[in-house]
Symmetry: C2
Subunit: 342 residues, 2 copies
């Protein structure tokens, strides 16, 4: 910019005023500055600008796994929304790892991001401390944080799972396998509650043998389904609390020589682009990904611009059961224990 000023024969202040048009500059100088900028090949330095202004126009985003289609879509929506708003987003994948997350958030804060959107993992207090000392707004998505009250947009997980299990029960299923994550994640506890509530509402006894907890990865779903489907009294339906795990579950079912939906009905949490393309067409619980992303961005932008109430806002959205062909009514016979029919 100094070069530009010299080249144009004016002062840096004038150049700055022109660039940010923060003050009127005469047509003559305007022209000289414009050509000077071109000649010098001037490029603004956002870093110096940020240092001075205390604003980076950058936000940080951390998600557990970007390859999980739910997060893929949310990330897509969020990056695009921020792009439109003139913000850049720094993306990190925590990989469900607590220390990764803490370190990444620290990094983001060091870089003076103007705000943070985090789909947090685990339940440690380090996160709480970070949040408390952070001077920038944070909005949580997908997973709440027990101790701390922050802006958040989440799903009514209990209701969503309730509806799915209810649907299965209506189809006559009484032994419903449930593949889920560890209970240190609030979202999972809510889904668990939905499962149990639906069972209770239908008068089906809760059988701890039917719930398997994994770490959200495909392999966890695989081994969970393996165990479930080799139980003496195996389930006639399986619900998976996330998408990667259902991939594993489907593979296990296939490897066991079983078929879906003939031998076992399957529902999973989170819709995905291929769900209605292949056979079976997977029945899923669809989260309103666009709304989640858009609302989270809007909330954060409101905070950044000081347009938000001081109290944290929590938005709870509803999921939607996308009924397709991966679930069928259980035949009268197979609703009986397998051991009897063998």
């Amino acid at each position: 910019m100094l070069d530009v000023a010299r080249e144009a024969g004016v002062s840096v202040a004038t150049v700055s005023a022109f660039i940010n048009n923060t003050a009127r500059v005469s047509p003559g100088t305007t022209g000289r500055i414009e050509t000077a900028i071109r000649r010098v090949g001037y490029q603004r330095n956002a870093v110096a600008r940020s240092l001075k202004l205390g604003k980076t126009h950058t936000i940080g985003l951390t998600v557990p796994h970007i390859t999980n289609p739910f997060f893929t879509e949310v990330v897509a929506v969020i990056t695009q929304a921020f792009d439109r708003a003139g913000y850049a987003v720094m993306l990190f994948c925590t990989d469900e790892n607590l220390s990764n997350q803490d370190e990444q958030i620290r990094l983001l804060l060091d870089r003076m991001v103007d705000g943070l959107i985090v789909a947090r993992v685990g339940d440690d207090e380090a996160f709480g401390n970070i949040v408390r000392t952070a001077k920038v707004p944070i909005v949580l998505i997908d997973r709440l944080c027990d101790g701390i009250d922050l802006d958040a947009v989440v799903l009514d997980n209990k209701a969503a799972v309730f509806e799915a299990i209810e649907y299965l029960a209506r189809l006559g299923h009484k032994r419903i396998g449930y593949i889920t994550g560890e209970t240190d994640i609030a979202t999972m506890r809510e889904r668990d509650a939905g499962y149990r509530a639906a069972l209770a509402a239908r008068g089906i006894a809760f059988d701890p043998l039917l719930v398997r907890r994994g770490d959200f990865h495909e392999k966890d779903g695989y081994s969970a389904a393996m165990q479930l489907m080799t139980l003496p009294d195996r389930p006639t339906a399986i619900f998976s609390a996330n998408n990667p795990m259902v991939v594993g579950a489907m593979k296990a079912i296939r490897d066991l020589g079983l078929r879906c939906p003939e031998d076992v009905s399957v529902i999973c949490f989170d819709d995905f682009p291929f769900a209605d393309v292949f056979q079976p067409q997977m029945t899923t619980v669809r989260q309103p990904v666009e709304a989640i992303g858009e609302q989270a961005v809007a909330m954060l932008l409101d905070r950044i611009n000081g347009n938000a109430p001081t109290d944290p806002r929590r938005l709870t959205l509803r999921g939607r059961l996308m009924i397709r062909s991966s679930c069928v009514a259980v035949p009268a016979a197979s609703s009986e224990p397998q051991s009897q029919s063998a």
Copy 2:
């Protein structure tokens, strides 16, 4: 940091020296500084640091669509690799839009990223100009740039498509529909060449009616397949040059009351997590996404650290045909023109 210095009763220079241990500081001061840091709640300011050092430890990444599973996985690999290397990554989706891309790259350059990885879109000269004036290293992935010689890691697209079409021809297919992108993208031109070469190698006449160009989105694949499958002499096989378009194609096939692979064999470019989970299990051309991501990161890091030869390096990786169940041999009858059998 000034606060820390005051609190510890030392100078900022000493604090800085301690933090970056760029000089020996006595045990006594060390202790005082440490407690001061804690008491003050000091957090380093990476922006000021970047301004001074001329390095942001941040890189920019732009891809056409993050929801395309190929890019999802590449982005995942790249963000993780950079994370391990201590870099943050700013992610942008160009949405196949030239002006988006140019603007985003400009933004990234303003922010003084240390390097850029771009899966570029289109073929405009604005990009060339940006590249020429950029003072930071750039590595291209997936799509080359005609005019300019840059570090790049790409696929041998021609060979990959050749192998796929060859496979179809071996199965007896003579009318092979080809759904692809516009020819302004080098990658697509290479894939086209592979298609034509395979046809030629098998003595199959090229029929322009069988190639449909879209804009990479699902809807383009849908209408392309719709047109293809309602041709008087419709194809017995379809190859889709990307993944979102094959989703559309499969939906069109379904909506036409046709089945895959019984009525039409299908192959698509880019593997995806669900490919071998549902029916039909999709035969795909798998790109080595991990290698692409890792190598691109390594190349960029090499440049950043000055460990690279001055000549641009180009890495060309091989694709792999993942043969599953979406393609079958064409029955003798249906290899004849449909009009005759009707």
